[in-house]
Symmetry: C2
Subunit: 260 residues, 2 copies
């Protein structure tokens, strides 16, 4: 099942997507809901960020090759994490499928994509076990963890390197039925494929993270956990189009513009 959030009469509205049709609902996938009699063609629907998370979690450093690549770029030793220490991103930076990534005018040309699987939490939960952890996930979407590498290297935190406005595209929708082991992430810049990786071949998997996190914290409906990216990344520049595709989920596509 495929959940989106769409703009309807000026209001954010949850909707089910079936084929090329958008079916707005009353309620939300995190609570009670029912289909309305309304139908929209998907092609003309304005897709919004599929969920605004109460807390926005991100793994970082969760694929072996990427850890080596980023360490080189930011001038540190490559160290594979030894435990699943979760990090954070910020809601101000979220944009939807189809919206523009805006490179701030003070940024260097080292602004790069990171294509990621995103787990969307469906219920309030703590102390998850390896057996029940995935039952807390209501579905899966796609994120692009856009990063300015010189700020990532030099600032004390990742506030502007990863959380400048528009640096966190997420979408296009949430897919509830996914086989993690058969997922493949493909990243394309202006249609040219740059990276392809087995999405679930992480240093610490979704279950590892959810079990570790919920020993100390409560997850809430709508929380998102971005699972990290693999491989080397390249610069994006004004006029580019960046696309992150994960089979079974969909394709998150955004244009890139530089602030005037």
């Amino acid at each position: 099942m495929r959940w989106a959030r769409v703009q309807l009469n000026g209001m954010p509205t949850y909707a089910v997507i079936e084929g090329d049709t958008v079916i707005p609902v009353r309620g939300s996938p995190f609570d009670a809901w029912e289909r309305t009699s309304n139908r929209l063609p998907l092609a003309s629907a304005k897709l919004l960020v599929p969920v605004i998370p109460p807390t926005f979690y991100a793994c970082g450093m969760n694929y072996a090759e990427h850890v080596r690549e980023v360490a080189e770029k930011v001038g540190q030793q490559p160290n594979l994490p030894t435990q699943p220490d979760i990090g954070y991103r910020a809601n101000n930076a979220l944009i939807a499928h189809g919206e523009a990534i805006v490179i701030p005018k003070e940024a260097t040309d080292q602004v790069q994509y990171e294509g990621e699987l995103v787990a969307v939490i469906g219920r309030k939960c703590s102390h998850l076990t390896r057996e029940n952890a995935l039952s807390a996930v209501m579905g899966w979407t796609i994120g692009n963890d856009v990063s300015e590498r010189t700020w990532q290297k030099n600032d004390r935190t990742m506030w502007r390197s990863k959380n400048a406005d528009t640096f966190k595209p997420m979408g296009p929708w949430i897919e509830t039925d996914v086989n993690l082991e058969s997922l493949v992430t493909r990243i394309r810049l202006n249609g040219r494929q740059l990276i392809e990786f087995r999405t679930n071949h992480m240093v610490f998997g979704v279950v590892d993270y959810l079990v570790a996190m919920t020993r100390y914290l409560t997850l809430y409906p709508g929380d998102v956990v971005w699972m990290g990216t693999e491989g080397a990344t390249e610069n994006m520049k004004h006029g580019d189009t960046i696309e992150v595709e994960i089979n079974q989920i969909g394709s998150l596509r955004n244009s890139v513009v530089r602030e005037a």
Copy 2:
């Protein structure tokens, strides 16, 4: 003017506090609102976290003496920040005035308070200037940035050292009328005063942070910015009561229990 959020008929409700009286409103301080005819005695009101932020910002390392103290505790060189790089905390950890800080059973005894001034953002804004930055702040509250020092030292991120459930007491309410230069923060453990500092004597002040942040990010109504703490901090243990008082605002008081 003093804004609180209270539990009323099972629902979170914004309210104005006048003396010992709580006056629930329709609406919120971030939008249109009007007083209801209801009146409650403050002593019997259940105060909630005064706002659930869309994004939860925190300065860290923003007072000179504290930078030296923490560096020693976590085994790093003390480096005063050279620019206002904002950080983040997580909503799962928020608790209200009067609620209990729960020390996880795996934590060491190095669980410590950090009393902080909190700026509450009142309107959507970006590209603030030194002249108009404070006009974006609708009011001020108090935060206690509870920290487990061994996790802060050893983990890759501050997820459980600073964001375990209950580690972010905030409240008791939001005070709109404050003279920053005359604020004094006092921290008391079981009634014994431990620290007293001039609240506004920061490495980077509120205006510095808001101007720097909004060059790259948009602030939204209800966002909070925790401004950091001063001085050495001590351990809290089961049975303790920790209190952070800032004159003109109020006093944030929480009990401490260790998870069984």
